[in-house]
Amino acid sequence: MDCEPVKIDFFEKLSSVNARTAQRYQQVELEIAPSLTQEDLMQWSSLCCELAEAGWHAWETADKYIELSQQTLTRFGPECLVSVGRFGLTLCKNSFEPANVYFEAINAGFPELNIERLKLIESVGQVLTERYKQAASLVARYFSCGFSISRLQDIDTVKDWCEVASHQINLGRPEILALIETSEQYPMANWRFARSLYEMSPQTGQAYVLSFGFLTNRLTSVEREFETLVFDYSKSKQPMQGLYAALNETIPQLESNAVNMLIRLLQKIPRTDLAQALVETCSKPPLSAVLSNEAVMSTWIETGLDLLPLKPDSALAFLKHESSQSTDLLERLLGQVRFSEEQRMLQLYSEALVGTRLKLVANDLVEQEYRSLPSSDGQSVFLPEVVGRHEHKQDNFRWMKVALCHQLGCYEFGTFDFKYDNSHVPFGDYFRTFDEPRLAADLFKILEDGRIDWRMQTQYKGIAKDFALLKRDEIEKRPRAPMGGRNQLLELLTRYSLDFSADIQALLTSDTNAPIDGVTVSNSNDQFVLDDELSDLEAELISIFQPLKSLDSTVFDSIQALHECYDIVSQLSRDKVDLPGVDFRGRISLDKASMNLELTAIEDADVEFTEDEDGISLTGAADTKDIKIDEIKKGDVQEASSVMIADQDMAMDDEIEHVDEPGGSKEFEELKNERDKPIPETAYKYDEWDHTIEDYRKRWCTLYEIRAVDEDVDFVPNLLSEHRGLANQVRKQLNMLRPEMLRKVKGMFDGEELDLERAVEAVVNRKSGVSPDENIYIQRQRKDRDVSALFLLDMSASTDDPIADPDNEPAQVSYDDDEDFMRGYYDELDSMPKDTRKKIIDLEKESVVLMAEALQGLGDSYAVCGFSGYGRDRVEYFICKDFEEPYNHKVKARIGGIKPCRSTRMGPAIRHATKMLAATESRIKALIIISDGYPQDHDYGSDRNSKDYGIKDTTKALTEATQKGVQSFCLTVDPSGHDYLREMCPDQQYMVMQDLSQLPNELSKVYRGLTT
């Protein structure tokens, strides 16, 4: 029997909810009714109504169900149509959002969606819904994501993904959300592999899932290697979070082939902590620049891994590129040249070449280690700390040497002979006479640099070839891209200054005697061609260069050439982009150098300078004081230039930011004051010994040498008046060291008197037929003292403690793990009201003052320094008195001003003191350390509760001192000093003071022992 049509009831029901929904229902019902049994039709219709009546605006959900019904029925059959409806209704019980998304996704999933995929997504969705009933958005998002995956991936991958999702659901809500986010972003990721990791452990899988999306996006060509790597690490249950985080951080910074290389190199690393270290190291220089060099990287890594069996900590430090072994090996492999290792030799070389006292200093900018350029300022020449531009060490050394020679050439060949109208900042003032001072300065640099190099190559034939090679390298790097007219001319001039021509090849191949000044420009300038409208200017510009190549060219030739070039180049408009400079020529602060040289000449006015015919004179400035620019220019300068020179009231050009100082005598005074001002801080880098890796951590600590020390003018006078007796006593003790002018030496071949004993012995020997000894005279010999001593005071915070009762337990500073706490601790110390009892630091100061007073009579050279600081990046070394300084009121005030500071990182302080002592070249070098406790600092070793690291590093520093001929002695007021000083001090050279009032006495005894 046919059922009574029920559609009217359903239609009415739906109409009461929403008319449109009802209409839609009616329409679809007509379409699908023929394919459904009455029961199925009833179920379907019932579901439509239940959905529409489920809640407010539920008709929208019903709409969606109705909308998908036709296709679902056609593709999946009536049973599935009903089950989909029921599932959607279940979702509606909590919220409509998931149901809406569910229905929409199904509708959008056709034609790829099949029952199997549908059921997979539904099953996980059901679990999710049951677990997180209130998390409507999460569930909705799950379905959206799941169906999206289903559309894009094959059925097996969909299963894998669903498996992964199930695991994530078990882990927690944030985890499933994270999966959804990752899946949305990277739907095509390798879910199969992720599933395999989940089977190892959910945490392993999760870590991978959260990271891999991004990673696999960049690792497409090494995906398999990466998966193998992750699988192997995961199988051995190693923690992966750190490695993933490091990869996430590092990979964006690398080129794709560097990324691929990194992944391949990681195959060699058996442990994730080492892998993480390697990845982090490769994210920054120098390794980031080397990563593509497989041979070097493989050798370097293998050497590090060789340490692993016996010294795992050393291996880790190696791969972090923190150990000396690592840095030394890499430098060797890359052929890098480190300035600090060549510094002394280069200093001697430069001193010999130009007879000047220019100091060579490293341009130690860590972030730009490979980019820092050589420069000079009249007192120092700055060179990059590491040169690694080439593969081979000799080429890198060549670069460094040529760069140095160029800077020295400016002094030797008279760049600073230039004077302008009695100005103390001649270059700046002179350039400002041009309409475009910056252009004038740029042109001058190109011309003068070219002149200097030609003079160097002519005068020193040995290095000519090195210059030529570097010039060729620079030309190869020069820009060739289209550029504006002015830049074209500047580029042409730069290239000519670099001897750009085919003829230069003769110098580089067989004919080493090819004349430099005979180089002409080839017409076949196929690498750099001027635009047609500028080509006529080429010959004119070339001719301007010729005088600069002569054997006796001077800076005034460059000035003349500047005028001629300026006239040509300034007619073209300025380009927006600046041309790159020539690296090996670096830069030089012309006016600063000029001023420094002039001041040096004034200071050295008593010294007779020798100036040979080649014009090697540091005091070029003084010699050419009278030469005025007008005289040079007479008859040579075009009218326009004369006008420019004469017009000294030109307004300052705002664009001259790189040209030297604004000018005038006021500026000269400022420069002079700046030069005369004592340098507040100078930084030095020192290695540190890490006993856990049995190697040095290269350039680990930064020590700041501070000369601007607090002063207390009353301390020394008060002390001397209070302790006059003690001062006399100490002085008396040290006076015993004063050498006799003459000392009798027995057993000499000749002398002023006979050594009776030996003479008698000689006669007896002769009578008994034995050859007598001829050394029977006594000679009087002069003996002088050649001693340098350095007193190194511990200025740590603990020296602020009052002098303790020897019977009490010593107070210990306990270090909290929290750095902020320690900072606060020190700040609090500073702010506390002062204890009036005598402190340890006062006793240290008193002892040193009494020694200093006594040493005045002895004539020994000595220094007084203190040390403190906080952390390896801020070791503070205070110089109260340097060796050459007289013991005047300023020095006394500085010693009086010593006050407790912070930590006690002894190693770098000892190394710096050793360096100061070694520089004195005295026969006897003594280092006396006065401390109140063991070496400690918040990052003095990775284990803050262990004293070992600090003690061992200090031990090493003292050993290094001994090897450099410095005898050391440690005086401590720490009653438990025996415990560590026994290990730290070579040959037991230490003393633990029991009675602190004896410190001055003991100090003088120690001094006597060390210096005789």
Partner: protein
């Protein structure tokens, strides 16, 4: 110990200032001469030249030309005693025969006696100088018990290197003030190049390069070698180069390793050589 100069050729010497005129004038007045300067700068060669000039050359006289050995050079050392200079009795067979020392011979014959690096000698030998260098011009010979009057043509010349002498070995003022002093130093580059070219046989260009090297290395004195590199060493280097030794190696053996043991100073000198010479 004794060096007799019988060479007929004029010893090569390039005057740097007025030292020739000063010495000639001093000789005319028989004023003793002290030559001061660093090692290897030409003091001995200068004396040889002047001896030739005064006794056999343009300023000679017939009497002086008759002197067979116009120059007696004594290289003083710490074992040199008065006996070595004045003379001693020697055993010949069963007789004792007096043998004049170089100083006695010069005093008797009227030659120039040149005591090179006089401060090295033992104290008893410097005492002899005093009586010869004042108005008395006598030489006591204690062992013979006689006093020799110096020949009118006799001249005493001493040399002294103030650079490296230690405080003990210094000339006493009473000794120093018996002499007129001529200062010597290393010549300028061009002059030194001429000397090197002449003495070693290298080309002018190489000689100039060697002179340039010398002047540069001298900027390094106070780094372990107080005197700088001497002209003599540069001549040695030139001589090696003439025999085909490469400049770098010649400079290494004749200059850097000769003047210092400091490896870094040696390296710096090697780099200087590589800068100056085409290697």
């Amino acid at each position: 110990m004794n060096e007799a100069n019988g060479a007929k050729e004029v010893p090569y010497y390039l005057p740097l200032a007025d030292e020739v005129e000063i010495f000639s004038s001093a000789y005319e007045q028989r004023l003793p001469v002290l030559l001061k300067g660093p090692t290897g700068c030409g003091k001995t060669r200068f004396v040889e030249y002047m001896a030739h000039r005064l006794f056999q050359g343009e300023e000679s006289t017939p009497e002086r030309r008759a002197v067979s050995e116009p120059l007696q050079t004594v290289a003083c050392h710490e074992d040199l005693s008065a006996t070595d200079l004045v003379g001693r009795f020697l055993l010949q067979g069963d007789e004792t025969v007096w043998q004049d020392g170089p100083l006695s011979r010069s005093v008797k014959e009227g030659a120039i006696c040149y005591l090179d690096e006089i401060v090295e000698a033992r104290k008893d030998s410097t005492v002899l100088i005093h009586s010869l260098t004042d108005h008395r011009r006598i030489l006591p010979v204690e062992k013979q018990g006689i006093i020799l009057d110096a020949h009118p043509n006799f001249l005493l010349v001493i040399s002294y290197n103030p650079g490296y002498q230690n405080v003990l070995k210094d000339l006493k003022p009473s000794t120093r003030q018996r002499f007129i002093a001529i200062d010597f130093d290393y010549p300028g580059e061009e002059q030194e190049a001429s000397i090197i070219a002449h003495e070693s046989g290298v080309s002018d260009e190489q000689a100039l390069d060697l002179a340039r090297l010398g002047s540069r290395v001298r900027n390094l004195k106070h780094h372990g070698f107080d005197e700088g590199v001497s002209t003599r060493l540069l001549v040695y280097a030139g001589q090696l180069m003439c025999k085909g030794v490469a400049p770098l190696r010649a400079a290494e053996v004749a200059v850097s390793k000769a003047v210092t043991d400091d490896e870094e100073v040696q390296r710096a000198i090697s780099e200087l050589v590589a800068t100056i010479f085409v290697v």
